[in-house]
């Protein structure tokens, strides 16, 4: 949610950070990527993210924000030089290279002139393939995957007869299968892209052609065309605004697709062109020349000049509508296309979505590389051994087995050549340690897990029926390893609904319902009866207030109460509107809306305003006030006042932060001040947002005097702001305190509990918000991120590098001091302060004692973050931040959100998750390892960019603690078993090598080798990967610490892999040598020899299948019927297939297994092998479960115990932090106000008041335009998904 997202970041600092960053990115790429082509800059996502958000000036609502004193940052962009093979190929297929543009020249209505520059057309193409190039291009892409390439090499080797130790079919069939499945998926994806491209390209727009308006498809729009846009339409290209339907050449746009901000922005055309109106003839004959900058991706910058009638008109960003914007509150407008198609800023910003991999994926790649080396060293060993054997024995054995014709006949040379060939032969035989089916199985498991997430009804938000959705199916197990959660605030933690909850009027607190018997305040729940306000014709049914005392006081005409609500009805910048006979407010901030609407419901209804009057209805009687002055709000003043005149009396009404108001109160209200302060503290303790209200009567003469000086200050040219502030300060003093309001920024359901539970699980939660510091801190308290028992809350709000550094260093010292005093007693382990270490206060304070206590929290402001994120201080910042239990970054830009995530990603080897709901979270969602979008009511950008979408923040708990944990647990178990079974299988060949003269003879039937992974052993482990659960869902949430193996990467890491591999290695050894001992010189009961290679191979293969199946039985801890079916089914299937293949199809090994199984020896051998292999595993596991049970073991034990008890006793409710509504004494201020400056001026100037008589033609499409100057209205217009390219 972005409404209260405010931008006040120093443009220059941003720019600098960006440029520093870019140069680093580029240089790091230069190292990594071979430079094959310099011609074309390759788009890099990070670059785009950074560029795109780069120079976000404070031009929201016309305010310029705090600008850096120095000159504009250089805008010339050096094209990044890096490129890759991929890019080269991409160019090959989409060949269209152009000269690099330095200046763009456009003549409107002059296609001939514009055509000479060959500007990009408005046709866009995001698809990758065409029908013709699909097969070669897709194959090329697929073989870029290391695994596929590896298997391709194997296949080629197998085709060479001298080397081939296995038929090529064993590799070809699975490889072709994998390629086909991937190919079909890619084709489908690209088909979707073609469709969405077509959809966008076919959108209609009105183009002026030969003096006539003609309907054209977007793809036909060209640079230099004049197009007409209408209300609620998407802008087709980047256009220069010529004329609009609105006064002063204004037009309003919503830029949610570009920057995620749903508030309206105004654009204004040149006064000269405004005169065109919608006179098609005049526009058609408009003959100027536009010279402007070449296409770039900076959304908030445009430089150009219009030469027309021998005059040069400067053009800036204010006159440009960008592709992807939606026209709002504007009937029509005309514009000249400046950038089209892929040159538009939107397209320049649409980086390729980065392909995310899980840490297990990366580990897997590393492991597989390791395995390949292991494989090669085994091959090398066999090569040497083979060479020795051929020299010693083989050359003499040639009488029975001559060497191949291509091998040189002399002994030494021949042996060498044979040995060399054997190297490759063994590479083929032993390749099954890296089975191709691993990749396929992993994908299948992840896909199933994703479906399970999608199906989970516990993740379904009942009111809307929105399910959680795994939009990326390849990241599930990473959900079980999240260490940092970066959360947006508004719309994610909160509902963005402000409710007037409590108030303190004249030292009396209202809002709590007191139990008449106990005198304690009652919890308000959905059954609590609210106060009936229906006698008021203006009341809103959605407004709920529970304390009857307040209405009683109002009914009794308590003067303080009446004054209190009158102030609320008067002192604001809300606009009213009559919508279908209903009064509606449009407020600039949700806080104001809540306050004004509260006054309305209590009978003090704000009815309407003009630039110099306000009309309210107070308890049914209309009152009109003359508006003399609005002393507008800003962040320094933290208050706003209005000066009104009625019946000759002039009065100033003021509302603002408690500290500010208190400083300006008239002396002698000590008792009232004291009581109100008490109430303020109580409100703050409950996480409510407070404002103090005060008033003052003014003397007419004094006011006139003041007014004159005010006017003087207002028109002064230098230091106007300063002068105004001083003049305001002068009049806002000696106020009389009225009371305080408390507004609840409603949290989403279950947020504090979720955060508490996730914290117990060891997950650190950072809140990154565009909100102001006070608001953010306030929310931090209400959702338990900040608590009063914290040791300290560090606030970093400095504006310069050195100050930020000082603050950071100070806090680091403080943390060290605390650690130094507390650590040695509580924890004997060595605590390192390395920033790479996760040990520290943050974790340790989550001690076993129960409720996490103490610890630090860090609150950092966006402008300080600029410095904290600079390369110089980022490590310092991270060191401090990671020692804090919670971190809140406020007033951050979308770019900074991404940078913070990136910082943690880079320096901590931790898995990060970003959750957000608005377009301003997109960059962060894309940067984090896992992005979660809240599929709320707002636009879809966050969801579209996300990997998972959930309807509510609280679902994260189940998503991580249940699904994530299970997925991780399953995937790890799966991988461990998978490597085990393949080592056990493949290394049998290695042992056999010692007996077959290292000739790469396989032990097993080639048929067995090709289907071992596919048919005999894949199903049970797939079932394990899908159904396995150690602990059920309820207990997974109840015992959040079960999450810690994922955090510590404990279930699958190099050590675990090594252990599995070793297990497999030893298994293969036993598997080979026990049958070897039994079958050596073996014979049947009739004396026939049984020690032949086929029998031995079949025996080992059969025992292998049994052993790995028994092993998975041991591994499976959750036997659903599917596990039974797959496990027993695999065994049965093995024997059936053996029979079928050998006896029906006529396999080479026909009869061997049947013969072996006809002899008792087989059964004794099998039993012995199985027991020898399983016994140590059982013993080992039993030891750990019995002596050092993990929490998981204990919970399983408890689970079984509970089931046995089967008692009806209801389970004790979860031991959650009982503090969600704990009452505490707080001495902090609850002041928070999401308000922007500047609206007071707009109101008094009348600029945004609708003209009474709209221009003729304004109603062209019959829609009523509703002016929505406020930023805080929730947009109901969700952009079409297909066009979201940011």
């Amino acid at each position: 949610m972005v409404d209260d997202f405010e931008l006040e970041i120093l443009e220059l600092e941003e720019e600098q950070a960006r440029r520093r960053r870019r140069s680093r990115v580029v240089s790091s790429f230069r190292r990594d990527v071979p430079r094959t082509s310099k011609a074309r800059p390759a788009p890099v996502l990070l670059d785009h993210v950074i560029e795109g958000w780069g120079s976000k000036g404070g031009d929201v609502g016309g305010e310029k924000g705090v600008r850096a004193p120095t000159a504009k940052a250089p805008t010339k962009k050096t094209p990044p030089l890096h490129s890759s093979i991929y890019e080269t190929l991409n160019n090959l297929f989409n060949a269209s290279t152009r000269e690099i543009e330095t200046e763009r020249r456009i003549k409107p209505n002059n296609p001939e002139f514009n055509a000479q520059f060959n500007y990009a057309k408005n046709y866009i193409k995001t698809s990758k393939y065409t029908l013709l190039n699909f097969i070669p291009y897709n194959l090329f892409e697929q073989f870029q995957r290391l695994a596929n390439f590896y298997f391709l090499c194997l296949l080629v080797l197998q085709l060479i007869p001298v080397i081939s130790s296995l038929t090529p079919v064993t590799t070809a069939v699975p490889l072709i299968g994998v390629l086909m499945v991937t190919g079909i998926k890619d084709a489908y994806d690209d088909y979707q892209r073609h469709r969405s491209d077509n959809q966008v390209n076919r959108r209609k727009s009105y183009v002026l052609r030969n003096g006539q308006l003609a309907e054209e498809m977007w793809s036909k729009v060209e640079v230099g065309d004049v197009i007409r846009m209408e209300n609620n339409q998407f802008v087709a290209a980047d256009v220069l605004l010529l004329s609009t339907s609105e006064p002063n050449g204004l037009c309003y746009i919503e830029t949610s697709e570009l920057d995620g901000e749903t508030n309206l922005k105004s654009k204004q055309c040149l006064p000269e062109t405004e005169e065109f109106g919608q006179d098609v003839g005049r526009i058609g004959s408009f003959q100027g020349e536009i010279r402007c900058e070449p296409p770039n991706n900076q959304l908030n910058k445009f430089d150009g000049t219009l030469y027309w009638d021998n005059q040069a008109h400067p053009l800036d960003n204010d006159k440009i509508l960008l592709r992807g914007c939606i026209l709002r509150n504007t009937q029509w407008c005309y514009g000249v296309v400046i950038f089209a198609g892929k040159d538009t800023k939107l397209m320049m910003n649409s980086g390729k979505t980065k392909f995310k991999r899980t840490s297990i994926d990366r580990l897997l790649n590393f492991i597989i590389l390791g395995i390949v080396f292991f494989l090669l060293s085994m091959c090398l060993f066999c090569t040497v051994a083979c060479g020795i054997w051929e020299t010693l024995t083989g050359q003499h054995f040639r009488i029975f087995l001559p060497w191949d014709s291509l091998v040189p006949p002399e002994p030494a040379g021949g042996a060498a050549v044979i040995a060399l060939l054997v190297f490759f032969s063994y590479a083929i035989v032993l390749n099954t340690v890296v089975p191709i089916s691993l990749y396929v199985s992993v994908e299948v498991i992840r896909l199933c897990q994703s479906f399970l997430i999608n199906w989970d009804v516990a993740l379904c938000y009942a009111p809307t029926g929105v399910h959680a959705k795994a939009r990326t199916t390849t990241l599930n197990e990473e959900l079980g390893q999240i260490e940092y959660i970066f959360s947006d605030k508004t719309g994610t933690l909160t509902q963005n609904i402000m409710t007037f909850n409590k108030c303190s009027i004249a030292g009396r607190s209202f809002g709590d319902i007191i139990d008449p018997r106990t005198g304690e305040s009652l919890e308000i729940n959905e059954y609590t009866r609210s106060v009936d306000l229906s006698h008021n014709p203006y009341h809103e049914s959605s407004f709920k207030f529970y304390d009857h005392a307040l209405t009683d006081a109002l009914d009794a005409s308590d003067p303080s109460c009446e004054l209190f609500f009158r102030l609320l009805a008067l002192c604001h910048t809300v606009m009213s509107e009559d919508k279908n006979g209903k009064l509606e407010y449009q407020a600039q901030s949700p806080d104001e809306a809540a306050l004004v609407s509260a006054a309305r419901n209590f009978g003090f209804v704000f009815l309407s305003r003009t630039p110099n009057s306000i009309t309210i209805s107070a308890k049914g009687t209309e009152e009109m006030y003359e508006l003399l002055c609005i002393l507008d709000f800003n962040n320094v003043r933290k208050r706003m006042s209005v000066i009104l005149k009625r019946d000759g009396k002039i009065r100033l009404y003021c509302k603002g932060a408690d500290s500010i108001i208190y400083e300006r109160l008239k002396d002698g209200q000590e008792s009232l001040k004291y009581h109100t302060q008490e109430h303020l503290n109580k409100f703050a303790g409950e996480g409510l947002r407070t404002l103090c209200l005060a008033y003052k009567d003014l003397d007419g003469e004094y006011f006139q005097n003041w007014k004159a000086r005010h006017h003087e200050a207002a028109i002064s040219l230098d230091r106007r702001e300063e002068k105004l502030d001083a003049i305001y300060e002068e009049i806002e003093k000696d106020l009389i305190l009225l009371g305080a309001t408390a507004i609840e920024d409603k949290l989403q359901d279950g947020v504090p509990q979720t955060i508490a539970n996730l914290a117990i699980a060891g997950i650190k939660i950072w809140v990154l918000t565009g909100d102001k510091q006070e608001t953010a801190i306030n929310i931090g308290y209400s959702c338990q991120l900040l608590t009063d028992d914290m040791l300290d809350i560090f606030i970093i709000d400095a504006h310069t590098a050195s100050e930020v550094e000082d603050q950071l260093k100070k806090y680091r010292e403080e943390i060290r001091n605390v650690n130094a005093t507390s650590q040695p007693q509580t924890n004997l382990s060595v605590v390192t302060f390395s920033i790479y270490s996760d040990e520290g206060v943050g974790q340790d304070t989550l001690s076993d004692a129960g409720e996490p206590n103490g610890g630090f929290a860090l609150v950092i402001n966006g402008h300080s973050l600029v410095w904290a994120l600079s390369p110089k201080f980022e490590q310092l910042f991270l060191e401090v931040a990671s020692q804090c239990k919670s971190v809140i970054c406020c007033r951050v830009t979308p770019l900074q959100k991404a940078l913070v995530v990136d910082l943690v990603k880079r320096y901590k080897k931790a898995v990060t998750l970003a959750v957000g709901d608005g377009a301003n979270d997109v960059s962060m969602i894309k940067t984090a390892h896992i992005g979660v979008g809240i599929s709320g009511q707002e636009g879809l950008q966050a969801v579209l960019a996300s990997d998972y979408s959930v309807a509510q923040f609280r679902f994260l708990e189940r998503l991580l603690l249940v699904h994530g944990r299970w997925s991780y647990y399953r995937m790890c178990k799966f991988l461990r078993y998978f490597f085990y079974k393949n080592f056990a299988f493949t290394l049998c060949h290695f042992w056999f090598a010692f007996f077959v003269a290292f000739s790469a003879q396989t032990l097993f039937d080639p048929m067995f080798i090709s289907v071992y992974n596919l048919f005999y052993t894949s199903m049970p482990v797939l079932a394990l990967g899908i159904f396995e659960q150690d602990v059920n869902a309820v207990n997974s949430i109840k015992f959040p610490r079960l999450y810690s193996p994922g955090l510590n990467n404990a279930l699958f890491n190099k050590r675990e892999f090594f252990r599995s591999a070793l297990h497999g290695f030893l298994t293969s050894c036993v598997l080979f040598f026990i049958p070897f001992g039994a079958y050596y010189n073996g014979m049947d009961q009739d004396g026939r020899s049984m020690a032949d290679q086929q029998t031995f191979g079949s025996v080992v293969a059969t025992i292998l299948v049994i052993v790995v199946t028994v092993q998975i039985c041991l591994d499976t801890s959750y036997w659903t019927m599917f596990n039974h079916i797959t496990i027993w089914g695999s065994l049965i299937f093995y024997f059936l297939l053996q029979y079928f293949y050998n006896f029906v199809i006529g396999g080479e090994y026909v009869g061997a297994l049947a013969k072996a199984m006809g002899e008792p020896m087989f059964y004794f051998t099998s039993l012995l092998t199985i027991v020898v292999l399983m016994l140590p595993v059982m013993a080992w596991r039993f030891y750990w479960v019995d002596v050092h049970p993990t929490l998981s073991d204990k919970v399983r034990f408890k689970q079984r115990h509970d089931a046995k008890m089967a008692s009806k006793r209801s389970d004790h409710d979860m031991l959650r932090t009982p503090s969600a509504r704990r009452s505490r004494r707080s001495i902090r201020s609850g002041y928070a106000f999401a308000h922007q400056e500047g609206f007071g001026r707009l109101i008094t100037s009348g600029k945004i008041m609708r003209p009474r008589n709209p221009k003729p033609g304004a109603m062209s499409n019959g829609r009523t335009s509703n002016l929505r100057p406020d930023a805080n209205r929730v947009s109901v217009v969700a952009p079409a998904p297909s066009t979201v390219e940011v």
Partner: protein, 355 residues
């Protein structure tokens, strides 16, 4: 399954609440298992060892045996392995041996080869199963090379290195006192399944014009394939049991293959092979000398488990003993260090994952 049941199962599957058996390794199950396995394996091992010990076996290496047919002029005997390098004549040698204890019937006669790599990759694949199944094709499996065709492009029958190198010593047993050639049975030595499924003669009479038209005998053979046992058509050609036995390539470089069975119907051998002095007469053709191979004659009886092999018995006893030992150790560990049920159940949300 009725539709609604299926739906209920589907729903449980989707919500991951399928009913499931959740076994846990506890002392109640694991410790008895250890003791049970231990108590089962030790007697089993003893029994297996007993069977193995009951098997009688006699081995006689004859690689270096001296010729009785080829002598130097001065009368010194020459080993056959030298003789066969010089001449293609049959070199016969004779070795006497003593059986000190009667071999219970049935007694089997084996030839054994040492350091002979029948399992070498190129050797193993150098055969044509189609050909051995009696299918007549114009060409044979290229893996047979260089024993696929002769210089005139005639196909070897059978082709390949395995067939070409078929063991061709002839072993005869004599009882010393009567110099009587002990009757040996040459049928029933190959696997019935092989004879049934893998080896068939081509259609036609078993001669060079019939079934084996356009073929030649393998290079190293002295007889053609249809002359392997002219007396018995069922044991001739590809169905010759000596050939079938040889074609089943051994798993290890040291192996034995059944050569003959002692005919216990003849007088004196009704109950087995009586303790006595015997001699072995060999028509020595097969060269193993060059690559350090060895040739043996083996006489053996069988048991329920086949041949003599103490491995399984010893292994069973060892594993059983280890099991018992582990059982005891774990019992002690469990009593001294094992977590009690109470400990296991007293957990809360702040219980650390592992202690």
């Amino acid at each position: 399954m009725p539709a609604e049941d299926l739906e209920a199962v589907m729903n449980k599957f989707k919500q991951q609440r399928l009913p499931a058996w959740q076994p846990i390794l506890t002392a109640d199950t694991v410790l008895p298992a250890f003791f049970l396995i231990g108590l089962l394996f030790i007697p089993l091992g003893v029994a297996l060892l007993y069977f193995s010990e009951n098997v009688q076996e006699f081995q006689l290496e004859y690689t270096d045996c001296e010729s009785i047919t080829h002598q130097l002029a001065d009368g010194t005997k020459r080993p056959c392995k030298e003789v066969i390098k010089e001449t293609t004549d049959v070199c016969t040698c004779r070795i006497s041996f003593n059986i000190s204890e009667t071999f219970e019937k049935n007694v089997y006669l084996y030839y054994g080869l040492d350091n002979f790599y029948q399992n070498h990759r190129r050797y193993v694949k150098s055969r044509d199963d189609d050909q051995l199944l009696g299918r007549v094709n114009p060409t044979v499996n290229s893996d047979c090379k260089p024993f696929a065709t002769d210089s005139e492009d005639k196909i070897f029958a059978p082709c390949g290195a395995i067939a070409n190198s078929m063991f061709n010593d002839t072993l005869r047993l004599f009882r010393k006192k009567d110099s009587e050639n002990i009757k040996l049975i040459k049928k029933g030595i190959a696997w019935p399944s092989d004879r049934k499924l893998k080896f068939r003669n081509p259609e036609g009479a078993l001669n060079e014009t019939g079934a084996f038209k356009d073929t030649v005998k393998p290079l190293y053979w002295t007889r053609s394939v249809w002359e392997l046992d002219p007396d018995d058509p069922d044991n001739n050609g590809y169905r010759n049991e000596d050939l079938i036995v040889w074609m089943r390539s051994a798993a290890f470089p040291t192996f034995r293959k059944l050569y003959r069975k002692i005919d216990h119907s003849q007088e004196g051998f009704i109950n087995g092979l009586p303790a006595d002095r015997y001699y072995l007469e060999v028509d020595y053709n097969y060269p193993v000398d060059s690559f350090g191979g060895k040739k043996r004659m083996i006489l053996s009886t069988t048991s329920f488990l086949g041949g003599k092999n103490n491995f399984l018995g010893i292994a069973y006893i060892t594993v059983g003993a280890i099991c018992l030992l582990l059982g005891i150790i774990f019992l002690i560990i469990h009593i001294k260090f094992g977590k009690r049920a109470g400990d296991q159940l007293s957990i809360n949300q702040n219980t650390p994952y592992s202690d």
